[in-house]
C-alpha cells in the first residue's frame, strides 16, 4: 500500500511535469474560483458582523410610572436584570433624560414647558440575535411599574428580516458558488485528462485496475487543489488587509472584521474546499474517461 502510495505521488508529479500548461491552467482556475468564493464569504461575514453589531446597538426603553418609589424602581430593576437575553440595564433619571432632550432638540422652543414631562426609564440592551419583541411583550405585562415600552420598532423588524434572509440566502449562495466552482474545476481537470486519454487506455490494456489508474490523478487533483487554494488564500489575505484597512479609514463608523482567528477559519474552509474540489474534480473526470475506454 505504501509502495502504491509512493508510486501515485511520483506519477502525479510526473504527470504535472509532462503537461505543465494544463496544470497551471487548472491551478489558476481553482485559484480564481476560490478567490470569488472567498470574497463572497468575507462579504457575508462582514454583513453578518455588521447586522450583529446593529442588533447589539438596538435597545428597549421602559418608561416607569411617575408614582414609583426608589425601592420599587430598584426591585423592578432586579427583576429585569434576571431576564434571559438582557446584556445591560441602565436607569435613566427623568432629569437627565430631560437635560439630554433639551440638548438634542435645542432648536425647539421648550421654554414654555415648565414641568419635566419625561418619566424615569430603563435602557435595556439585549444580547446579539435575542428576540427583542418577545422581551418587549413580556415587560409590557408589568403594568404596575410601567407606562410604556418602546423598541427599535420598524427598524428592528427590518434588521431581523435582513439577518434571517442573510442566513438562508447566504447558505444557498455559497452552495451555488461551490457547485459552480466544482463544475469549472471538473471541466478544467477534464482537459488535462483528455490530454492523457491514450495513457489511460494503455494502462487499461496492460491490466491496470481502475483504482490504480485513478490514484495518481486524484493525488494530482489534490496537489492542484492545494496550490490553487493556497494562492487564493495568500491573495485574499493581502487584498483584504489592504482594502479592509482602507475601507475602515474611509468609513470608520462601520465595523469590519479584522479578527485573524475568524479570518483564518474562512481561509481554512477555502483551503479544504480547494483540496476537495481538486480531488472530486479529478475523480469525476477520470471516472468519465475510464467509462470511455474499453
Amino acid at each position: 500500500m505504501i509502495q502504491h502510495g509512493m508510486f501515485f505521488i511520483a506519477e502525479a508529479f510526473i504527470g504535472m511535469k509532462r503537461s505543465p500548461l494544463m496544470s497551471v491552467v487548472a491551478m489558476t482556475t481553482i485559484m480564481t474560483a476560490l478567490v470569488l468564493l472567498g470574497v463572497f464569504l468575507i462579504i457575508n461575514l462582514n454583513i453578518r458582523y455588521l447586522s450583529g453589531f446593529m442588533t447589539s446597538q438596538l435597545e428597549i426603553r421602559v418608561f416607569l410610572q411617575q408614582s414609583l418609589t426608589t425601592e420599587q424602581i430598584s426591585t423592578f430593576k432586579k427583576k429585569l436584570t434576571q431576564l434571559d437575553g438582557v446584556k445591560t440595564i441602565q436607569f435613566v433619571n427623568k432629569n437627565t433624560a430631560w437635560a439630554n432632550f433639551t440638548k438634542n432638540y435645542h432648536k425647539l422652543n421648550l421654554n414654555k414647558i415648565i414641568e419635566n414631562p419625561l418619566p424615569h426609564s430603563f435602557k435595556i440592551n439585549v444580547h446579539e440575535n435575542y428576540d427583542i419583541f418577545k422581551m418587549t411583550e413580556y415587560i409590557k405585562l408589568h403594568t404596575n411599574y410601567i407606562t410604556d415600552v418602546k423598541n427599535g420598532g420598524v427598524l428592528n423588524n427590518r434588521v431581523y428580516a435582513f439577518i434571517k434572509w442573510l442566513k438562508y440566502s447566504g447558505v444557498f449562495l455559497i452552495l451555488l458558488l461551490f457547485l459552480a466552482t466544482l463544475l469549472i474545476v471538473v471541466n478544467t481537470i477534464r482537459l488535462t485528462i483528455i490530454n492523457r486519454q491514450e495513457e489511460i487506455s494503455i494502462m487499461k490494456l496492460v491490466g491496470a485496475t481502475n483504482f490504480f489508474i485513478k490514484g495518481p490523478f486524484l493525488i494530482e487533483g489534490a496537489i492542484i487543489g492545494v496550490i490553487g487554494s493556497s494562492s487564493a488564500i495568500l491573495f485574499l489575505n493581502h487584498f483584504y488587509s489592504y482594502w479592509g484597512q482602507k475601507l475602515q479609514e474611509g468609513l470608520p463608523f462601520i465595523p469590519i472584521v479584522f479578527d485573524q482567528y475568524i479570518l483564518n477559519q474562512v481561509y481554512l474552509y477555502l483551503g479544504l474546499s480547494g483540496i476537495i474540489l481538486g480531488i472530486f474534480g479529478a475523480y469525476i473526470s477520470v471516472s468519465k474517461s475510464l467509462k470511455l475506454t474499453a
Partner: protein, 227 residues
C-alpha cells in the same frame, strides 16, 4: 487453452463481423489469423482480450468462461494476456524502460525485481542498450520490440498480436515474427497473430486460420497465406 464455441459478433449497426466461430487453440500453440480487411480478425482478438463482448456463443480461457467475467475482474484477465498492436501504443514521453515497467507497476513488485524483469525482457528483444531512450528515438522495428517486451514482461500465458508487422518493412517484419516465434518456444506462450503479411506466413509456417466474411473458411497446420 482458448476455446470459442459458436461465437458470433454483431455490431449495433447490424453488421455481422463474426459468424458462428468454432475454434480451439491449444496451450503453447502458434497460429496465424489471416484474411482480407473486415474479415473479423481484429474483432476475434478483441473478444479474447475482452475489449468487446460476443453477441452469441461462449469463450473459454483455460476452462474459464469469459462471458461471465465481471468488469472489475477484467484487469486481472489482461495481466495474463499480452497484446501487441500495429501502432505500438507506447507512451511517447516515457523511456523504453518506463514503458515496459509500466505493465508491472500495479503488481506490487520490489524495485529490484521490477528492474530485473524489465532487463531480462529487454535482453530477449535485443534492446538492452536502449533502455533510456524515448520511443521517438527508435526505429519502427525497435518500437515494436518494446511493445512485445511490454506485452510479455509479466509472463502472460497468451500473446495476441494484431497486425504486428503492419507498419514495418519486410526484413524487420521477418525479425519480429522470428522474435514472436522465439518467445513462443522459450516461454511456452500461446500466440495468435492476426496478419495481412503473406511473406511472413509463408516463410515461418505455423497453423493458419483463414477468415472470410466473419466465418472460418480454412484451418490448416503449417499452412501458407493462400491455399
Amino acid at each position: 487453452m482458448i476455446q470459442l464455441k459458436k461465437v458470433s459478433k454483431v455490431f449495433s449497426n447490424g453488421l455481422k463481423v463474426l459468424d458462428n466461430i468454432e475454434l480451439t487453440v491449444q496451450k503453447n500453440e502458434f497460429l496465424y489469423l489471416v484474411g482480407p480487411s473486415g474479415a473479423g480478425k481484429s474483432t476475434l482478438l478483441k473478444l479474447i482480450f475482452r475489449e468487446q463482448h460476443p453477441s452469441q456463443g461462449e469463450i473459454y480461457i483455460d476452462n474459464f468462461l469469459l462471458n461471465t467475467i465481471q468488469a472489475d475482474q477484467i484487469p486481472y484477465l489482461r495481466r495474463n494476456i499480452g497484446v501487441v498492436f500495429q501502432d505500438f501504443k507506447l507512451l511517447p514521453k516515457r523511456t523504453v524502460f518506463e514503458n515496459i515497467a509500466f505493465a508491472l507497476r500495479f503488481l506490487n513488485y520490489s524495485r529490484r525485481r521490477l528492474r530485473r524483469q524489465v532487463t531480462q525482457v529487454l535482453s530477449l528483444v535485443g534492446l538492452n542498450e536502449k533502455m533510456s531512450r524515448l520511443p521517438s528515438e527508435l526505429s519502427g522495428g525497435e518500437q515494436q520490440r518494446i511493445c512485445i517486451a511490454r506485452a510479455i514482461v509479466n509472463n502472460p500465458s497468451i500473446l495476441l498480436a494484431d497486425e504486428p508487422t503492419g507498419n514495418l518493412d519486410p526484413d524487420t517484419s521477418i525479425d519480429i515474427i522470428q522474435l514472436l516465434s522465439k518467445i513462443n518456444l522459450l516461454r511456452n506462450t500461446t500466440m495468435i497473430v492476426a496478419t495481412h503479411n503473406q511473406a511472413i506466413v509463408n516463410d515461418i509456417r505455423k497453423r493458419v486460420i483463414e477468415l472470410k466474411n466473419g466465418k472460418i473458411v480454412r484451418d490448416q497446420q503449417l499452412g501458407a497465406y493462400c491455399q
